[in-house]
Symmetry: C2
Subunit: 160 residues, 2 copies
């Protein structure tokens, strides 16, 4: 069970864009990728997913790029993770209890959900609850940018 690296990239990009402020000009993928030493084309794909989720807004043209679509306190970590990973839960019950010996079950015997699946989904719900409780604004407050992170923001703001 490995989470996509795109989640880390997306969160760092959101945090950086929040530092820059929503009012500044848009930041293109190429600049963000250079600031973090990431593959530009693939990072672009991740940012597109964030646009689809309504977290970022994109603008085309020569001075286009991405910016935050909402205020940082209205972007939860869960939204970012879901945008990249998709909405499906990590644990998917394939109902193996209905295979083999279960094939002879009376109709309606498996009406109530599988207890194992219920337990796993409960755990995932706790995970989601924790992610939904934190916003990008919380990250801003908890960790003020270090010197080199301020440098990164300055580089992104320069040379438009």
């Amino acid at each position: 069970m490995k989470m996509s690296e795109g989640v880390e990239w997306a969160l760092h990009c959101c945090l950086t864009l929040a530092w820059l402020g929503r009012d500044d000009a848009a930041v293109p993928t190429s600049r963000l990728a250079a600031a973090f030493e990431l593959p530009p084309a693939y990072l672009n794909k991740c940012l597109q997913l964030l646009v689809k989720a309504g977290i970022l807004a994109s603008s085309a043209g020569v001075k286009g790029g991405f910016r935050l679509a909402r205020a940082p306190q209205q972007i939860t970590l869960l939204e970012v993770v879901t945008a990249i990973e998709g909405p499906e839960p990590a644990f998917r019950c394939t109902e193996i209890r209905q295979g083999g010996a279960g094939a002879t079950a009376a109709p309606g015997e498996f009406a109530r959900p599988c207890g194992i699946a219920a337990a796993m989904h409960r755990a995932e719900a706790a995970w989601r609850r924790e992610l939904a409780a934190q916003t990008v604004a919380d990250l801003l407050r908890a960790a003020p940018p270090t010197a080199s992170e301020r440098l990164r923001c300055w580089q992104l703001a320069q040379a438009r």
Copy 2:
């Protein structure tokens, strides 16, 4: 982020072995695979992982197979999941904050952990806590076996 199917298989096998009782004879992979309609060789691989984790005990020979190594109330769901998926967390911080502009950082600037990684790990800790709070015995209690599940156990107990 997709969890391995082996987790579901392992949990169902543990639950079934718990129904049978630790004192009965061992159940070989071939019989378990037939009872759930699963690929026998791959299921065997998963059961081996459970043996390595000390959850199951294996015995060789003509009447060999697998059985629970401990009492059901001493097997948490977290142990089973960790045995199959491995101990590494789903979210792995690759420290991209140190790339690019971060390369010019003063030594010790990144001593404190990344706030994003901390938040993600906090969420995963909640997930683990929920899994560690439930044991196989709890599954036994919560969901008594249905008719076809009892049939499955009977088939496993027969024809030794």
